[in-house]
């Protein structure tokens, strides 16, 4: 078996036993990237020489007798909205196409303590706004299962690179489903942690009350380990939670007998594909066989979630993205004669259509005369949604739904219709509004050979329950990966 087929924890074992070097791992992955990257386009920045020199450094570090941690020498791709010192961080935008971060994000610092192998900066929807990775200034990413299909978004590059065996794991960010939906469409595991579990310091902000960094991996064990590596309090992020990080790997392969699972009927809507529904139901039957209790539950205010999200996220985005004005960094229109002309032209030329659309929505919702009807109202309905979840978690350990209503769709299919595109995230958005953790993992493959994802949602800081159930699904539900590349 080739090295690229191994999970992070399997590579870790081999490194510990001194059976392979990090350089050999780097060689295997670089070769794979050379073979498939023209088709996939998962990376914005990728530098062979940098990967090899870093691999040699890590090999020396190991040879010197230093401790080998979970991600020592493990290839990880980083979504290009996470700041990496000395390496371009573009957010897949013309606005930042030449921006070189002058500091590392906290998650990068934490992984550097492991001596991880950064394989490259991954493609994404511009400023993490999108569900198909078609909104990138660096070109669309293709789904390794079917190159005519989108990989999902906005973490399309992080998801496709893991699915295509171009990296062992990756880090993405999730504001309304941007880790889970692409994980679902690419047949891998994607975890959005509790809001505040992982520091956002160095993550280019989209919607600050919703954004969270999390792992994309090929199995649940790697997901647990990578979460453990990046989680924890950070004084540079005043919204990070100051509690101990549990040993997440210890929650895998545990007995789930008696665990209570709720199925929110508002997430089993008519827009869900039949095949998706039946795969999810099949997984639920497996969980029942393993002794879990499965019941339908109603969270009535979830019907407002999409609308609430499309007020709150664009409002926060319109504020966050006001910093891109051509003054201190990024793109600038150099032909303007006055500063206001420069602001307008810089932003009109530097941002793509979807980013501008969301800035416009947000600006409208926050503008004088509309603030109460939209932004303030949305914050109140958000409270109702949170209350629904709180009530549900009094009864249930986890909630389960499909991750995405459909499997991967064709490139171009939804590109001209923003509202239909927004509906791709109808099952994942409520989770961000409530700040709770959720995972997506594969639970089947459609007749057209596209992966289907199931979402497991937990209460605040109850990643343990999410991982227990995800691990049970992973070991019980069998499916077969059949990539086009």
């Amino acid at each position: 078996m080739s090295l690229i087929n191994l999970g992070a924890y399997e590579l870790n074992e081999l490194i510990k036993k001194k059976e392979i070097s990090v350089f050999e791992i780097a060689k295997a992955y670089v070769q794979r990237i050379d073979e498939v990257e023209n088709d996939i386009n998962a990376f914005i920045s990728f530098d062979n020489d940098l990967v090899f020199s870093r691999a040699r450094e890590i090999d020396k570090y190991i040879k010197d007798g230093n401790d080998i941690l979970d991600f020592t020498g493990i290839p990880i791709a980083i979504k290009d909205n996470v700041c990496t010192k000395g390496i371009k961080t573009t957010c897949a935008s013309k606005m930042l196409s030449n921006y070189v971060a002058v500091y590392d994000a906290t998650v990068i610092n934490k992984l550097n303590r492991h001596r991880f192998l950064m394989i490259g900066k991954a493609n994404m929807d511009e400023f993490a706004m999108g569900s198909s990775n078609e909104n990138s200034a660096f070109g669309v990413v293709r789904n390794p299962w079917n190159l005519d299909c989108v990989p999902g978004g906005s973490s399309g590059g992080p998801a496709a690179s893991v699915a295509a065996f171009e990296t062992a794991c990756s880090l993405g960010s999730d504001t309304g489903g941007s880790i889970r939906q692409p994980a679902s469409l690419c047949g891998i595991v994607g975890l959005k942690p509790t809001y505040g579990r992982v520091s956002r310091y160095g993550l280019v902000a989209f919607a600050s009350s919703l954004d969270q960094i999390g792992p994309l991996t090929r199995n649940v064990k790697d997901s647990a380990a990578l979460l453990e590596a990046i989680a924890g309090y950070d004084e540079y992020d005043s919204t990070s939670i100051n509690t101990d990080v549990p040993n997440y790997k210890s929650f895998l392969n545990t007995d789930i007998k008696g665990m209570r699972i709720g199925i929110p009927k508002e997430l089993m809507i008519k827009e869900i594909d039949c095949e998706v529904k039946s795969s999810v139901n099949n997984a639920l039957r497996m969980l029942e066989k393993s002794g879990a209790i499965v019941e339908e539950v109603s969270l009535p205010n979830l019907e407002y979630a999409l609308s609430v999200f499309y007020v709150i996220a664009p409002s926060e985005a319109s504020s966050n993205l006001s910093r891109f004005d051509g003054v201190r960094y990024g793109y600038r229109n150099t032909k303007s004669r006055t500063i206001r002309e420069m602001y307008k032209k810089t932003r009109a030329e530097g941002f793509g259509p979807e980013v501008k659309r969301r800035i416009m929505i947000g600006t409208y919702c926050l503008s004088s005369g509309y603030y109460d009807a939209y932004y303030d109202k949305a914050k109140r309905v958000r409270t109702l949604i949170i209350n629904d979840f709180k009530k549900a978690f009094l009864e249930y350990d986890v909630l389960i739904s499909p991750t995405s209503p459909t499997t991967a769709f064709k490139i171009g299919d939804r590109a001209d219709d923003p509202l239909t595109m927004y509906l791709s995230d109808v099952c994942t958005i409520p989770v961000n509004l409530a700040g709770i953790p959720a995972i997506s993992l594969p639970c089947g493959v459609s007749k057209n050979n596209l992966p289907i994802g199931i979402q497991v949602i937990g209460d605040i800081l109850r990643e343990d329950n999410v991982l227990k159930i995800a691990s049970a699904i992973e070991s019980e539900v069998k499916w077969k990966m059949n990539l086009q590349i």
Binding site: Y304, S307, Y343, K356, Y364, R380, V381
Partner: protein, 96 residues
């Protein structure tokens, strides 16, 4: 669905957001924004009497720390990504 957003609104919002749409783009964005805003007015149906708005999901309070000097970015680092600078700062066109 009645129209909520017209071209005049788009021009006003674009001005507030420091954005610019060409005449060719404006019909499309007006139509798209109208559809989206029409969709989100759905939140008006929810009964939120006596409901407190949520800004952050966690109950967070201000975080204070000692006002101590610590190493930060150098001048060179701060100007590294500047589109245009001179020795005193970021250079911009005339302020109007």
């Amino acid at each position: 669905m009645g129209k909520i957003i017209n071209k005049k609104d788009i021009k006003h919002i674009a001005k507030l957001a420091e954005l610019k749409y060409s005449d060719a783009e404006i019909d499309k964005i007006t139509d798209q924004l109208d559809k989206i805003i029409n969709h989100i007015t759905k939140i008006g149906q929810a009964d939120t009497s006596n409901i407190v708005p949520t800004s952050h999901v966690l109950e967070i309070t201000n975080v204070y720390r000692e006002d101590k000097v610590r190493i930060s970015f150098t001048r060179e680092e701060s100007f590294k990504n500047a589109p245009l600078e001179d020795e005193d700062g970021f250079k911009v066109p005339k302020i109007d």
